[in-house]
């Protein structure tokens, strides 16, 4: 579901189910050029993050005041010492881009992991809990209180979806102060809703399947039905949404940094790098174009990968 931040992934209600055999899945995947583009992109970005210290010897936060700045205090362009030039403080731009990958991926993957966990839990529990009745003993009387778990969980989801999440994020960071952990938590707290909704609607369908009814008839407890019988049918959906979710979280982090409430300065962050140098977009566009390109390549790769996975899982739409 799109939000103002335009969560960078393309969500929709995928009819994602495992149809056909495993080898068919693999073939469909490997034949899709989008998969290869996406996979290569992801590998590049992850490698940049992991191998950053090997690729560049400069400290991304060190300002080269003499060699890295012109006499009037402006960034210098690409040279032997600085393959991609410097930024407004004289810091090596290549290093900042590579270490920026670390920030984006740490926040993106971290937040997405938490968001996926919350979303899957909420969605599946809502679908299977229904409205349980709590049994109480009041003296000699037994009271049964229905607790509309399903309703409450989905209303909470709706409420979070209705909330202008960007503003919430900005306010939270303003209150607690910027920190990596907080940014991850804030992003997770607002982006778990799409996956919760999708898992919920899919789980509802699976709930009515024959094998589930059979399991219930036999007396298997709901929790066990959920974990052992239903989950496998949700895995494809979860995998696709988790992959696409990284695109959303990376974009959200970049947007927060752009608005000045992201990862604390002077840690390298692509969104932060854009806003730091926004004044140069006319005179030295390199400093604005490069981080934007990095964000775009990252988001694009995860989107393509997620899209390819969705297609491979469900070739129905792609004959």
């Amino acid at each position: 579901m799109p939000s103002d931040v335009r969560v960078g992934s393309v969500d929709q209600d995928f009819e994602v189910a495992v149809r056909g055999s495993r080898s068919r899945f693999r073939r469909a995947l490997l034949r899709n050029p989008a998969f290869w583009l996406g996979a290569v992109g992801v590998v590049i970005v992850v490698s940049a993050a992991v191998f950053a210290p090997l690729i560049t010897s400069h400290d991304p936060n060190f300002a080269f005041r003499k060699e890295g700045l012109s006499a009037s205090g402006d960034p210098v362009g690409p040279s032997a010492l600085f393959p991609l030039g410097t930024d407004e403080l004289g810091r090596d731009y290549l290093s900042r881009l590579l270490y920026g990958a670390r920030t984006s991926l740490t926040v993106g993957i971290g937040a997405n992991l938490i968001a996926t966990l919350i979303g899957v839990a909420v969605g599946s529990i809502a679908a299977f809990a229904g409205t349980p009745r709590l049994r109480f003993r009041f003296g000699s009387r037994v009271v049964r209180i229905p607790i509309p778990v399903e309703n409450i969980l989905m209303r909470i989801t709706d409420a979070v979806l209705s909330f202008p999440v960007l503003l919430l994020a900005i306010a939270l960071v303003a209150i607690v102060g910027p920190s990596l952990g907080l940014v991850i938590l804030v992003i997770a707290a607002v982006l778990w809703t799409p996956i919760a909704r999708v898992v919920y609607s899919r789980a509802l369908v699976v709930r009515e399947a024959d094998f589930v009814l059979a399991a219930r008839a036999v007396g298997v407890r709901p929790a066990r039905i959920l974990t052992k019988h239903v989950m496998p049918h949700l895995i494809p959906l979860i995998v696709v949404y988790a992959t696409l979710g990284i695109a959303s979280t990376v974009l959200f982090e970049a947007t927060l940094s752009f608005l000045g409430v992201g990862v604390p300065v002077p840690a390298a962050s692509w969104g932060g790098m854009i806003i730091e140098h926004i004044g140069y977009y006319l005179t030295d566009p390199r400093v604005v174009v490069l981080p934007g390109l990095a964000i775009m390549v990252t988001i694009l790769s995860f989107n393509l990968l997620g899209d390819a996975l969705a297609d491979a899982f469900d070739p129905y739409h792609w004959q």
């Binding site: 929709q12 202008p164 006319l282 174009v289 988001i299 694009l300």
Partner: protein
């Protein structure tokens, strides 16, 4: 039907109330001093204290909350310290700018996304289909704030070269395309992908149906089959998405407004948080939530009316 309506309204009201409480609490906890904001950085502590007292900021939390909620019920959304104007008139005054951007952005999203979706559906599986999808994914992957600045740069260079088509540097004039097109386009690019996907998926479903086969067998031109018959049934989910999008947009498109200096609700919201203007923060958040809740409600009701399977 009426019970369904009442239940949905009830939940909507609950959501709004919850959001109001949460936002008030957050604003109260913000570590900036609204009295200092009003007084300015150079005012002496005793003058700041006088202002703090006049604004009622030294009253206990529950007191302030009570007054605030009471005022809301009377239609008084408070008074913005920073802008020195009542919150509701301020919001209403900025709303037209956001509304124009929302409508224009949405229009462009549809303009790009729908035809692409329909054509991709008919050419399903071909190179065109793949290319269209990749194109829209590329568009959605480009961060809107980055794209916005690239567009501004292009306009400036074009202006230097003598092509004075658009307003330089962004800004706003009511209903003036020179100012509206670029931010709307930025929005349009980022959202077209959704409509492409939805349109494509629903069209594919429709095109498999019996009546389409009948229409084709009757010898109707393909264009008519597509754009007259199939699309009318396939457009449902798209309309729902439009409603939801509109709700989100009308609450203020923060990033694009910021980049293009567009004086709408989104920009107001960011200003209010950055200046710790508590009544205005409350106002913009509530307004945004209201738009989304109303849109959700409208869409749900529309759905319920149209689809008899939805139980009331």
């Amino acid at each position: 039907m009426t019970t369904y309506l009442l239940r949905r309204l009830g939940w909507a009201a609950l959501v709004l109330a919850g959001v109001a409480l949460l936002t008030f609490f957050l604003s109260y906890v913000l570590p900036a001093d609204p009295a200092r904001m009003v007084a300015g950085p150079q005012a002496r502590p005793e003058d700041v204290a006088a202002i703090r007292h006049a604004l009622g900021l030294d009253r206990p939390f529950l007191d302030q909350l009570g007054t605030y909620l009471g005022n809301i019920l009377h239609g008084n959304f408070g008074h913005s310290y920073h802008q020195n104007k009542d919150v509701l008139p301020l919001l209403l005054q900025r709303f037209p700018a956001t509304a124009q951007l929302a409508v224009a952005g949405l229009f462009l999203e549809l303009l790009i996304g729908i035809p692409l979706g329909v054509m991709a559906a008919t050419r399903k599986g071909t190179g065109f289909d793949r290319a269209a999808t990749v194109l829209t994914i590329v568009l959605v992957s480009a961060p809107s704030f980055w794209v916005g600045y690239l567009i501004l740069e292009a306009v400036f260079q074009a202006h230097k070269a003598g092509f004075d088509l658009f307003a330089v540097g962004g800004g706003y004039k009511p209903f003036d395309l020179r100012y509206l097109v670029l931010p709307a386009l930025t929005l349009g690019f980022s959202g077209a992908a959704y409509y492409n996907r939805i349109m494509r998926a629903t069209m594919i479903d429709e095109l498999h149906r019996e009546y389409i086969r009948t229409a084709r067998a009757k010898g109707l031109p393909e264009r008519r089959v597509l754009w007259h018959h199939a699309i009318r049934n396939a457009i449902g989910p798209v309309v729902i998405q439009i409603g939801l999008d509109l709700g989100f947009f009308l609450g203020g498109v923060v990033v694009v407004e910021q980049v293009f200096s567009w004086p709408g609700i989104g920009k107001l919201a960011v200003e209010s948080i950055v200046t710790a203007d508590v009544p205005l923060i409350m106002g913009t958040v509530l307004f945004g939530t209201l738009c989304i809740v109303i849109a959700n409600l409208a869409v749900d009701i529309l759905n319920a009316v149209v689809d008899p399977r939805i139980r009331f």
